[in-house]
């Protein structure tokens, strides 16, 4: 997992819970990275699982909840950091459509070693999009948060419905509805 995920998570935790929380959730002895993250680095997923675990412990929020919240936070960050991607399309559906076919490809160009989920569009119209999320990290809630927050950039409100939950969340078919 790219370092940016860790650095942003730290920022989010710092800004929401303060530095102490940050300190608390980082247990260097559990982490391969020893808690040293730079956005340009690459660290194992197990480090994230550890951090999220401690965060969940510390906050009492479930991990899916945390993932979702993080997703929402990251979407906002993305829309600033990677504005061109958002500017390319006119709606969240279009954006979603492009995740796999464009965005992730560009990511992979720069960071060939990035571990990214797969998003396949099954069908799409102006108000709906049905997709399948596949990832070994099984972080669908995270994806949900990203999607939800991305819609906001396009002044859209969406509702996400899980249609199928397979392989313990490694494969999820979901529908995104535009609410207005």
């Amino acid at each position: 997992m790219k370092g940016i995920v860790f650095t942003e998570l730290m920022e989010m935790v710092e800004s929401q819970f303060g530095i102490e929380m940050v300190d608390r959730i980082i247990q260097p002895q559990e982490l391969v990275s020893k808690g040293v993250f730079t956005s340009v680095g690459t660290y194992p997923f197990s480090d994230l699982v550890s951090i999220l675990g401690h965060l969940s412990q510390a906050t009492g929020a479930g991990i899916p909840e945390l993932e979702k919240a993080f997703g929402q936070y990251l979407a906002g960050r993305f829309s600033k950091l990677y504005l061109p991607f958002f500017q390319r399309v006119n709606s969240v559906f279009e954006l979603l459509n492009e995740v796999d076919s464009y965005i992730h490809i560009e990511v992979k160009k720069l960071y060939p070693d990035a571990e990214l989920p797969q998003f396949d569009t099954i069908k799409m119209d102006s108000a709906h999009i049905e997709m399948i999320y596949r990832s070994q990290r099984k972080m669908f809630p995270f994806a949900e948060g990203l999607i939800d927050a991305s819609a906001t950039y396009y002044q859209q409100k969406v509702k996400i419905k899980v249609l199928e939950w397979n392989h313990d969340g490694a494969e999820v078919r979901f529908l995104v509805e535009s609410l207005g």
Partner: protein, 1056 residues
């Protein structure tokens, strides 16, 4: 801040610091990476640029492609804008670019562009711009919204098409108008196309031909082989073939075609057949005719009796013949294996005496190529040939050589012989002491040999050029002879004559001259040559002989005259005695008188017989007896003979009998009178010398050869026989067995001699077989020709005519002898004839002046004027043409002729039988006009000149002896030939008839017997063509009658 917080911040700081270091490190890494990537990129870029450059160049080149395309290539957008055009499209583009829809091309383009959009696919249009035609392939590219146009300049193509079109039309015309059959067929052989000539020649319409199999029209006998031929062509993938075969037209006519067949083999296995066939029926016929001619020529050549050699300009032999091959023994030559001319000449040279000359000759011939003179060549084995050369054109139309080899061996040898014999004879002549004189047409001397010069006593130089006539003719007397000789020469005749020739000095020498004309090679008379023999000594001898002959003749003549006188003097009183006794016998006589009269008659008959014997004997001795050849009946003769001696046998107890062989021809030709005489002699002898018993006369055929029968007469008696020792002498004159016989039996002893002489005169044989005391048989054999009843004397042919007509006739009897006068008168008056008498010729003429008579009986021997003279006067001066019969005691040769010439009609020899006289008178007076004939003929109204002796006289050139000979031959042979012709007719033997007619023809022509000249030819033709026998019979009868007439006239005229 609490320690807790400080720890937190410491840890945070630591983490930050580490993070930063890590980030720096990563940055550093990334920069390195970037740097390397950059390098790489630069390099790539460089490569890429290179590639791009190269590519661009390639593209440039490629992009030049359309520019270099001579054909227009351009691109126009759908909305009509020219996106690209190559240089070649300038012409077209000018009009259609920028939607210029006013021009023709513009309009065209617009239409095409529209079409393109509509059709939505490629298509082509044809456009003509400035005398050029383009095919534009229009390809709309919808994705790019433009049209690519690919043009092809098809101007030349269209022109070529036009030419091809015209060519095609021309070819079609040719095919349509062709004078040969042109057709196409599919691989099954069925017609797919036929030209008009095909329909014309075959007689079927196009409809009737198309789809039909070509086999249907081929002549049945040839179908199999033609079919196999084409199948083979098919199987062998043979493109072209040629064959000749016959087809049958619709009308059933057979037509020969020479067909070229092309087969086109397509890759897909299909076969197209195209054929041209020519009608060669006529050509075949003429080829056949040529072949026949060639065969004829070959046959002629091979049978040609000279060697033939024909060579072309290269020395190869074109033709030769068997004669040449055999002549020069050339065997390796046959029609397929020809030697060269050099080889042949080598072989020929090997057999020649002078091969080099031959070599030169033939080489020169070839070189000059002109007709050359014939040259003779001698071969080692003695053969000789003439070589003849002619330049010709060979069958290929080139200069050729033609040699003839003529076998002249025989001629050459003959020439040599001739030369040799000429030299021999020249030598002989020189040695024979013959003088040779050669003169020209004017009788000027050209040449005289030494002997002639010696004979005439001149030097040869002194007489050359002089006139022979002037020199040698002694006197006027001789001129005639020489003139005649000259005229003979001028006629081209040679002859031999006697003449006196004047010698130098005047002496006349008798010579025999054999003269012959000399001709040049054109047959023109250029002179004559004479062989002269001095016959002075012969002449002497001749003179002596002539004198002796005269004497002999005189004595002979004297004998004859004596005989004649004797005959006359004796016969006249004999005639009277016999005649009178005959008359007396018709009167009333007493028995005694009858007896006495009988004695007188018998004695006088005996005496007459003896006299006749003596006279005959003398005649035969003098050679004056002639034997007749007339027709007679053998059986009648035999019977008459028996009848005549009957009275002799009657007194004795002798049985007289006769036997006649039935094989004897009913009519034979011979002298019945003489045969009768012989028979009477033999019979009377037999009776005389036979006291009792029998005498038999047997006549039989012992040999038959063609038309001739050998008849053997036998007089057999049972008399006293003849002593063996005396038999030989029996035929000798005057001998009887011995003198005692004559005393006892009488007779002059001449009888047998005369019989023998008569038999021998008739070319027969006579002999005797006898046994003393037993009997005797006398035999004589005669070869007699079988005759026809027409050969019989007419007075025997005709029945005895009645003498009733004689009554009232007025006859003048001219006779000096009183007794004979009386006799004749009595005989005639006995028949009611009125008789006047005259004692001699003068008295007769006087009587004739005042009185008229119907007939004159004229004695010959009379005083004052004899019968001949009187008759002449009567005929010529008095113009009296009443019949005159001569009464003659003589019967010498030549008398008949004289009687006729005098104008007498007939003659009768004394003593005559009254019956004969009366009959003659009858016959003569049956004729309406007096005709001078020898014997009464079949009545004719007029005698024509049925023959002419002009031709014979011409041939004989005045030689009477020759004429006489000719006539006698004619007279002797003609009746025989005619008889044989009759026999042939009887037997239906055409060849015989032809043969006889053929033999008669020349004589008929020679004698100019016009009446039957054509008839005899008809007989020849008819018999050769085996025509109807009746027709032939009539013609043969006609010829017979005329020839009988001619022969009789000739007999009179020439006494043959």
């Amino acid at each position: 801040m609490s320690q807790h917080e400080v720890d937190i911040y410491k840890r945070l700081l630591e983490r930050e610091r580490s993070a930063r270091k890590e980030a720096e490190r990563i940055l550093e890494e990334r920069s390195m990476e970037l740097y390397h990537a950059n390098l790489e990129l630069k390099e790539l870029n460089l490569n890429l640029e290179k590639k791009v450059k190269k590519r661009t160049k390639e593209i440039e080149l490629i992009s030049r492609f359309p520019d270099e395309n001579p054909n227009p290539v351009f691109r126009i957008s759908f909305d009509g804008f020219l996106l690209y055009s190559n240089a070649s499209s300038a012409q077209i583009i000018n009009s259609i670019a920028n939607n210029n829809s006013n021009s023709y091309l513009g309009r065209e383009w617009k239409r095409a562009a529209r079409l393109a959009r509509i059709k939505k696919k490629e298509f082509s249009i044809e456009i003509t711009a400035e005398n050029r035609t383009f095919l534009l392939n229009i390809c709309p590219i919808f994705d790019a919204q433009y049209i690519n146009v690919y043009g092809t300049d098809i101007t030349k193509l269209r022109e070529a098409e036009k030419i091809a079109d015209e060519s095609q039309k021309q070819f079609e015309q040719i095919v349509q108008n062709a004078s040969d059959i042109i057709f196409r067929a599919d691989q099954e052989g069925k017609f797919t196309f036929v030209n008009p000539m095909a329909t014309k020649i075959l007689g079927y319409t196009e409809k009737e031909l198309l789809g039909k199999h070509f086999m249907e029209f081929i002549h049945p006998s040839f179908q199999e082989e033609v079919y196999n031929f084409f199948v083979q062509q098919l199987e062998n993938n043979q493109l072209g073939s040629y064959r000749e075969f016959p087809v049958i037209s619709k009308s059933g006519k057979e037509i020969w075609l020479a067909q070229n067949t092309q087969m086109l083999f397509e890759s897909n296995g299909e076969v197209h057949v195209t054929s041209i066939a020519r009608d060669i029926t006529e050509k075949r016929e003429s080829d056949q005719a040529v072949l026949n001619l060639k065969n004829l020529l070959v046959t002629l050549l091979s049978n040609f009796k000279s060697g033939v050699l024909l060579a072309d300009s290269e020395g190869k032999i074109e033709t030769t013949n068997e004669f040449l091959l055999n002549w020069f023994n050339i065997h390796s030559l046959d029609s397929n294996n020809l030697l060269s001319i050099d080889q042949v000449f080598e072989q020929i040279k090997g057999e020649l005496m002078e091969p080099e000359i031959f070599e030169k000759t033939v080489q020169l011939d070839i070189q000059l190529h002109k007709t050359s003179e014939r040259k003779k060549f001698f071969m080692k084995d003695g053969r000789v040939f003439d070589l003849e050369y002619t330049p010709i054109m060979t069958t290929q139309g080139e200069k050729g050589s033609f040699w003839f080899f003529h076998d002249v061996t025989d001629e050459h040898n003959s020439q040599l012989l001739l030369q040799y014999s000429e030299e021999k004879y020249r030598g002989i002549i020189e040695n024979l002491e013959m003088g040779i004189l050669e003169v020209d047409n004017n009788e000027n001397i050209i040449h005289a040999n030494a002997i002639f010069c010696r004979m005439v006593g001149y030097e040869v130089e002194s007489i050359i050029g002089k006139n022979a006539r002037e020199l040698f003719i002694p006197s006027e007397k001789e001129v005639e002879i020489f003139n005649e000789a000259l005229s003979e020469r001028q006629k081209g005749n040679a002859n031999v004559y006697e003449a006196l020739v004047k010698k130098n000095g005047g002496e006349q020498i008798p010579m025999i001259i054999s003269g012959a004309p000399i001709f040049d090679q054109n047959g023109q008379l250029i002179g004559s040559i004479g062989l002269h023999v001095d016959i002075s000594s012969q002449k002497e001898t001749e003179k002596v002989l002539a004198e002796a002959k005269e004497k002999a003749e005189a004595s002979s003549h004297a004998k004859e005259v004596f005989l004649a006188h004797m005959s006359h003097e004796i016969r006249t009183p004999m005639n009277a005695i016999i005649g009178m006794s005959s008359l007396l016998s018709n009167t009333e006589l007493t028995g005694k008188q009858k007896v006495y009269l009988d004695a007188i008659r018998t004695s006088s008959k005996n005496l007459l017989s003896i006299i006749n014997d003596i006279l005959d004997f003398s005649k035969i001795e003098a050679g004056k007896l002639n034997v007749e050849t007339i027709g007679f009946h053998v059986d009648k003769l035999v019977k008459n003979a028996i009848g005549s001696v009957n009275h002799l046998a009657a007194g004795k107890s002798i049985m007289l009998s006769f036997k006649i062989d039935p094989k004897i021809s009913p009519v034979v030709l011979g002298d019945p009178t003489r045969i009768n005489q012989i028979l009477l002699n033999l019979l009377s002898n037999a009776i005389k010398f036979t006291p009792d018993g029998k005498v038999e006369l047997i006549a039989k055929v012992v040999k038959q050869e063609g038309k001739s029968q050998r008849i053997c007469f036998e007089v057999k008696d049972t008399g006293i026989g003849i002593d063996a020792s005396k038999i030989n002498k029996i035929f000798e004159s005057f001998s009887q067995e011995d003198d005692s016989v004559s005393r006892k039996y009488g007779g002059t002893g001449l009888g047998l001699t005369i019989s023998k002489q008569l038999v021998e005169l008739m070319n027969g044989k006579i002999w005797v077989e006898s046994q003393k005391g037993m009997g005797t048989s006398f035999f004589f054999e005669l070869d007699l020709n079988m005759g026809h009843y027409k050969d019989l004397p007419h007075d025997l042919q005709n029945a005895r005519q009645s003498t009733g007509k004689l009554k009232g006739l007025r006859v003048l009897v001219v006779e000096d002898n009183q007794l004979n006068q009386f006799l004749a008168t009595t005989i005639l008056e006995g028949k009611g004839i009125v008789v006047e008498t005259a004692g001699n010729g003068l008295e007769a003429i006087e009587s004739l002046k005042n009185q008229s008579f119907d007939l004159i009986l004229m004695d010959i021997q009379m005083p004052y004027m004899g019968g001949i003279e009187a008759t002449e006067k009567i005929r010529k001066e008095m113009n009296i043409s009443i019949p005159i019969i001569a009464l003659t005691a003589k019967a010498l040769t030549g008398d008949e002729k004289r009687y006729h010439e005098a104008g007498m009609n007939d003659f009768l020899s004394k003593p005559f039988e009254p019956e004969i006289l009366l009959q003659k008178i009858q016959n003569i007076l049956d004729l309406s006009e007096p005709i001078p004939v020898v014997e009464p003929q079949i009545p004719k109204t007029e005698i024509k000149v049925i023959y002419s002796l002009d031709k014979i006289k011409e041939v004989a050139s005045g030689n009477d002896e020759f004429i006489q000979k000719m006539i006698s031959i004619f007279v002797k042979n003609t009746p025989t030939l005619v008889q044989n012709m009759h026999v042939g007719l009887q037997m239906g033997d055409y060849d015989q008839i032809y043969s006889m007619a053929h033999q008669l023809k020349p004589s008929i022509d020679l004698m100019e017997i016009q009446e039957i000249a054509q008839v005899i030819r008809n007989i020849e033709d008819c018999s050769r063509n085996r025509m109807d026998l009746d027709t032939l019979s009539d013609k043969i009868d006609q010829v017979d009658a005329v020839l009988v007439e001619v022969v009789k006239q000739l007999k009179t005229e020439f006494s043959v």
